[in-house]
Amino acid sequence: MGLIFDGIKQAFHLMFILDPEVLGITLLSLKVSGSATLISLFFGISVGTAVALNQFPGRRFAVSLINTGMSMPPVVVGLFVTIMLWRNGPMGFLELLYTPTAMIIAQAVIATPIITGITLAAMQQLPQNLRLQILSLGATRLQMVLLLVREARLPLLAAIMAGFGGVISEVGASIMVGGNIKGYSRVLTTATVMETGRGNFDVAIALSIILLLFAFLVNAVLTMVQQRERPK
């Protein structure tokens, strides 16, 4: 118990003095996971909406694939992204392995199916007649899609939270493609693993608490927006 208390003390100490290393690690975590979430939002919402609004052969299979993707293990993603990015691998010429960019790519791959899946579910929840109504009012197809996305915006915020939450707490892929390089690709989760390995449990606990705080802050802002918008 004393250890946890020490960790909490250490966490506030590190935050209070704005320890440059911890600050850098925290900012990088936000940058990497934020960028990855943004990229996933783009692909996730497009694909999710497309699958939700269209009928095509193999649609059920596509939906099952997306739902499976939602529980794709990060280490599996990490392994495949590593193999792709090896400098003697298929995309080696990009020289991206062990960079923050590689971490963004891996995290985007992890978050995209999550956001796609939730988008899909959200769009299917909309009343069927809504589409007909919008179309009968003379909207173009693009206008209809935009309106439907706007109608589903509250569940879509949940998609952002799930996606962001999934990647900021992820460690397996980040350590494989980022390498946990000091001052360069070390994020909160990989630093926690390393400090645990070094037996610096108080620092590890401090980093965990900072991670929890940030996850809470980001989600609190999004939830605030979501709840304010709740249809009355």
Binding site: K31, V32, S35, R87, N88, K182, Y184, G199, E229
Partner: protein, 289 residues
């Protein structure tokens, strides 16, 4: 409704800008090429904190940027074999010789040594304390079926441990008292402490972690326990993308007198004893004699 919609979009815009800003500032960080060196090394050099001292020195001196990937020696050499690392700092001599003979590495140079130790719970249920010979100690652990934690990750420490079992004439692989963690040295020590088991550890990591571990040194000083670190440059003939000058600069740095002087004193302040003994230029066969 209209008003709150607008606000929602403003929020979304703000979030997007933050994220795009983050993305843009994250990208240039990856653009410093040519000057990058990938160092594949063992967990012990990272977990003991030695590299945290040496790497900044090297970077300041040469302007190279070192990407340290801390894995087991086995994985480090596998990375070298695939041309995914430029330079290796490893401690698995038999595997290293094979690595050089197969043409994957060049210019293998002696850097430093410390030693392996047998650690276990203070109560020492297998009564190995006082046994001079390490294989004898291992035999006692096996004979009494006491828990032994193996790294199980093809690291240098794991290779050494397998050597000792071989000398002892025991194959522990399928035994119930023999558990493989598949983790780094630091984590394996923690597991051993929690489960009150024995394990083989490098002295550097043990000393660095000692304050949090309920583990005592129960065997040391046997010649078989010598732990020798070499630096190896990856052979560019097989993989043209290897950063040859960078690898050479790092290897040269590791055996340079100033670096060796830092290695000599590293850890004395914090742990009361040095964690590594510098050996550059020495004859490896004379170590520990």
């Amino acid at each position: 409704m209209k008003f709150s919609n607008k606000r929602w979009f403003i929020y979304l815009l703000l979030i997007s800008f933050c994220i795009i800003g983050g993305l843009l500032s994250a990208l240039p960080a990856g653009a410093a090429e040519q000057k990058n060196i990938i160092l594949a090394t063992t967990t012990s050099t990272q977990d003991s904190g030695l590299l945290d001292v040496l790497i900044p020195m090297f970077e300041k001196k040469t302007g190279y940027f070192v990407k340290t990937i801390a894995v087991g020696s086995g994985q480090a050499m596998a990375m070298g074999q695939k041309g995914e690392a430029d330079v290796l700092l490893v401690h698995s001599p038999a595997a290293e010789k094979k690595f050089i003979n197969d043409g994957y590495g060049v210019n293998r140079r002696l850097v430093m040594h410390n030693d392996f130790i047998i650690v276990g719970p203070a109560e020492d249920p297998a009564k190995v304390k006082g046994t001079k010979s390490t294989p004898e100690s291992f035999k006692k652990i096996a004979a009494t079926n006491k828990l032994f934690l193996s790294r199980g990750d093809n690291s240098g420490t794991h290779a050494k441990e397998k050597d000792v079992w071989k000398v002892a004439g025991i194959n522990p692989e399928k035994e119930k008292w023999y558990q493989q963690t598949g983790l780094g040295m630091g984590q394996t020590l923690n597991v051993a402490a929690e489960k009150k088991g024995y394990t083989l550890a490098d002295r550097g990591t043990y000393l660095a972690l000692k304050k949090n571990l309920a583990l005592d040194i129960l065997g040391e000083g046997d010649a078989i326990l010598l732990n020798i670190y070499h630096v190896i440059e990856v052979n560019p003939v097989k993989w043209p993308k290897v950063n040859v000058p960078g690898a050479k600069a790092f290897a040269d740095f590791m055996v340079a007198p100033e670096t060796q002087a830092v290695i000599k004193t590293f850890g004395t302040e914090k742990f009361g004893a040095p964690l590594f003994f510098p050996d550059a230029g020495k004859n490896v066969d004379l170590l520990g004699k």
